[in-house]
Amino acid sequence: MKLNLLAWRNLWRHKRRTLITASSIAFGVLLSVTFTGAGDYFYTRMIDAGAKMGMGHITVAARDYNRAPSSQKRLQSANQHQATLRELPEVSSVIARIQGQAMFASARKSIGGTFIAIDPAQETASNNLFIQSLVEGKMLETVSDKGIVMGVDLARKLQLSLGKKVVYTTTDVNGDIVSAIARVSGLFRTGVSEVDGGLALLPLQSVQTVLGYESDEVSFIAVNLHDQRASHVLRDSLQQQAAFQDMEVLNWQQTQPDLAGMIAVDKSANKISQLLIALLISAGIINTMLMSVLERIREFGVMMALGMSPRHLFGLVMLESFWLAVTGLIIGIIITIPWYLYMFETGLDLTSAYGDDFSFGGVLLDTVFKIRLFKESVVGILIGLFSLALIAGAYPAWRASRIPPVEGLKAL
């Protein structure tokens, strides 16, 4: 007697019960996909946004720069390293920058802030959040002009508008105080008040001159990847290479620990929630299977009296769990696909709830709630639920195998 067929038929003798239990598994698929997918989408966006805010997914910097940045700590042979990094397949863009603290002064006021010196040719809206957030004027023209692009609030406090000059004072490579002049070419608004009120972009070469850097020296190189998940492995392999021995290669978790922390906590909360739901579903499965076993004591008793071994009985119930799980998964996949496609393409626009200047862990957020799953996650979910169903079926199956035939017949 083919156990498989028997198991399948057994299941469908109780259509309603099987369907309801299968639905709960299917629902579990939906939930799991939604939660995990929301997480995957959300975290990836945040990590990418964080990377675009300056340090990239991977950062190559002078030793100790990350812990205590200063203009004295510089990265040499920047061009050479940039070329090396660009060769790598995982890399989407490589950007060299100088970053530092400065006082920005107009005739009216002076305010302390941060400057990021960039090469306008290398940076575009796709890898630089500030360019993306330009609201007035335009980006810097060349790498060596006298322009400056600053946050709207900084300009407002200094009482500056487009075309006006600002003097920035900072410390150069020797520790001396230096000043230089720049004219406002553009203004950006990111929505994060600390950024809009305290950050400015300057041309890389102009800053190199002011700080007394060589033309090949920068503060750090930001490396952006096509897929942020490659950052860990890549960072490790780069740090090992001889060329990067006397530098620090850091990934985004090290350069943005706040963001990393938030994501870690959110992920755990997510996992805990999913665990709870998984437990619920398994409770339902155990309930169903156990009931179905208990009510078939007589049937099993007869089968064992006719010569079926306890082992086979165990196998039978396990197979029933198996097919139940399969059915549940298939239904689950069927109902989840349209939902997933909708959420992937369109998503839920939560802007009304969140407003449009929502920042999380220091990174500005997009308020459209979408989901997106990585292949690994999909596989993970399916395997997880499947195993769950099987494990849940184990106890009932065991119970079934322990029924003494006599007891079974007694129930007659």
Partner: protein, 407 residues
Amino acid sequence: MNLFTLASRNVYRHRHRSIVTTLAMAFACTMMIVFAALMDGFRIGSERNVVSMNTGDIQIHQPDYRDDPDIYSLIEQAGAIVEQHQQLGFYATVRLFAYGLMASDETSSGVQLRGIELETEPTVTDIDQHVMTGQWLSGDDPHGVVIGKKLSKLLDVGLGDELIFVGQTADGYMANDRFEIRGILKSVSAAIDNGGVFMSNTMLRELITLPKGAHEIVLMRHDRTTDLAAVTAQVKSRVGEQLEVMNWQQLMPIINRFIETAHLQTLIMMIFTYIAVGSVVLNAMLMSVFERIHEFGIMKAIGVKPQQLIVLIYIEMFIQTFLAVLLALGAGSVLSWYIQENGLDMSSLADGISFAGLAFDPVWYAALTSNALMMPSVFLFIIAAIAVIYPAIKVAVIQPVEAIHHQ
């Protein structure tokens, strides 16, 4: 025929099935209670984080102070306002602020000096408990200061190290003095972490020659369940038009929105969870009725009325659900209480979590609120009741002969 007695006997007779069903429901309900407690704990903890760490319920300033922190922008009658509100059911304290340069052996950095009333501040906020290494301020040690976490790294200093402050007094002279690091704080907010230096108000007043007045008054309600907006309005009318009165929701709109949306998020989660629970209960209830259709058929055949059968089924459901809820309340309370006292320690995941410029405590405490206990229990009853409708009606309607032959 006493239906109740019959119901309880039925439940007892089909022990195994009843136990399994009851346990499944109890389990589901327990999960919901723990989950609700965690969510409530998160919401309460977040608010506490914001409010009790540093912000307080309500703050009072001169109208232009927050935009342009000028040391001359003082609330002159600060002392009187504090006393008045202490009589009216608030904890109250004042703060003074000054900006200047702190120099260590290695380097120097711009800082914000935060003058604290040693006696009243701990009644309003918990910042004194937030010291990572070292100790909080003490009246015996006026030159002892407590500094922010990142500031200690920027200045490359640790406990016991000396700092020199350079700034300007209110009467135009140079403010200059030595201080010693008494404590370093855990993460509080971006501003405090990067440049906050806490000292006693007595010391600060002397340092910058500001004997009277204060820059900020902080109030905390004794009873925090009152309507914050209403209380804020009352304070405003009491204090007068010249001063700015704002509550924490207005001062930190982003955090406020976060907490609200976290609330929204947890609500969505709860709904999903309830749906999952619902399917379990539905399943259990359906099975427990349908598998006895034969039995019901016989009862009908001997004359039991359909309404009576429905009532019977409902009582059986009620008994099982009631037991399930009792179990769940018990187990759920114990678990939630445990997490409430000890919390889930997330700090292995994150060294310091910050959100919109504010630091969050990485330990997640549950809150065993009546809400967390009641909602899941009530819901369980409702779901079970709904789940039984279909089978109950079917039983009521079916022909006895059909029922007896039903498979």
